[in-house]
Subunit: 292 residues, 2 copies
């Protein structure tokens, strides 16, 4: 099985799987694992790694429309250097502080490769699932798209300070909380916008029609991309931007825009079926870990 | 830094670190990582691996005297085989069910080595820390000691079915809940009894005097051990048995014995300082991962 088939296999067995996080008695729980070879390019500081890995789990809490309360991590490495470990903990603590959560530690483990396994805890009485979108609603994203793709190019070209800055995203917890009362379906864009739209379409049994020109492409993408095709690749497919993709009735847009602390862009509308961009089918593909 | 120095380094930076689990607003959160090369000997089934890895986190919830509510895991492997994955999920689900918690899934990740990163969530309004033991109290353990050491010998000799049985411990959540109102300090024995006593002594600023003859050595230990020295090694130092080690005033013993669903053995008493067995200093060492 590939990873997608395996996730589907799990979804059939576990009633709570299939959303960005599980919800048990109002507690939101989600876990992720990131590896040096696939997730942290050469030049990624341990501070950025701590921020980003814990941030990925906090983003899943945000996608449920929940408050973030705490996070833990397992820091696994071939050896424990106090500077590296201190930087990781500082990054993990700072990203938690940025969203009002508390970093409460975790565990250490010897591992051949630097690996971070992170878990975030949140709380909500009204989680937003992926399954509530209806035709006629609009589909929106928070913030900008393509930042992570641009960061990877900057790591490759040695501009590591700028790349690290772009890599440290702010999990959209505050926005998710404000959007939750209005959003009919929501998830984070960790696998890219295209893949997120396909996942929302499948969960909600609907389609999407989005406009390329409406996408909030991050300004860093245009700096690094070689032509419009690459801009599209980084903004639409690359993913790992950890923005929120969500659907709402159009009449709620003004309320959302005034309440969300992060800018919201309408990128298209919910349709009966099919996922299209500018009238053409949008492939269900994203960034695949492992460099395929 | 070695792992102990690194944990101490973390403890200085994170106010919630240092107990078996962190507690935030009555929610108990703990995370662990287990690897094939260090934690799952040849012959360990994926069912046992799922049970044991999730069980290790549930044991930390038990050590806080908390109710266990949910668990998640990241299953990381070079490839995803549906039989392996199904077995892992079944083991993870079954150990949760055994303690009244719910296994709610998690994530998948490609990794060079089979690795399980597990997180358990619990709830308590009165967590039991490691720091409350006082001289004059007694020190007790639940269940029996040495089972995991015996299991490793059985894996080595090819008796894998019996070894798998011994490897699937029951996390002491129910016992921990009953002991919590009485216990002055508690932790799980995942690093072995000797190490646990030293950790309790350090956290409580006390000492211990235990009797070798009072230890509840698992019957499997005598079957596999070659002489009394090896029995002692497996029961006292080996660890990974995930029993609870705790202190209580002696007058509470009859209440504890009638309420704990797991047998409780008094193994010694709390002293002013020093950790001794049969009047001799008990070394602060345990099972070190990685085969040192």
């Amino acid at each position: 099985m590939d990873e997608r088939a395996a996730l589907s296999f799990l979804g059939d067995r576990l009633p709570h799987a299939g959303d960005d996080a599980a919800v048990v008695d109002g507690q939101v729980l989600t876990t992720d694992m990131l590896h040096e070879t696939t997730d942290f390019p050469d030049g990624t500081t341990r501070y950025t790694a701590g921020w980003r890995s814990v941030g990925a789990s906090l983003s899943d809490v945000a996608a449920m429309g929940a408050e973030a309360t705490a996070a833990v991590a397992v820091y696994a490495a071939p050896e424990f250097d106090d500077s590296d470990l201190g930087e990781f903990v500082a990054g993990a603590s700072d990203v938690c502080e940025a969203v009002g959560a508390e970093y409460v530690g975790g565990d250490l483990d010897e591992s051949r490769e630097f690996t971070a396994a992170t878990t975030a805890l949140g709380r909500t009485d009204a989680p937003v699932a992926r399954s509530g979108a209806s035709p006629g609603e609009v589909v929106c994203v928070t913030g900008t798209l393509g930042r992570t793709g641009a960061a990877l190019r900057l790591f490759e070209s040695g501009e590591t300070e700028r790349a690290n800055d772009l890599f440290r995203f702010e999990p959209r917890v505050a926005a998710g909380r404000e959007l939750a009362p209005y959003a009919t379906a929501m998830m984070d864009s960790s696998d890219g916008l295209a893949r997120s739209l396909h996942q929302l379409a499948e969960a909600s049994d609907c389609g999407f029609s989005v406009e390329r020109s409406a996408l909030p492409v991050d300004e860093s993408v245009r700096e690094v991309a070689d032509g419009e095709a690459e801009v599209r690749e980084l903004a639409v497919f690359f993913g790992e931007d950890f923005e929120l993709a969500f659907t709402v009735p159009e009449r709620e847009l003004s309320a959302i825009r005034s309440e969300s602390p992060t800018p919201v862009s309408v990128v298209g509308e919910v349709t009966e079926s099919g996922v299209e961009m500018d009238g053409e089918e949008l492939p269900d593909r994203g960034y695949t870990h492992g460099g395929e």
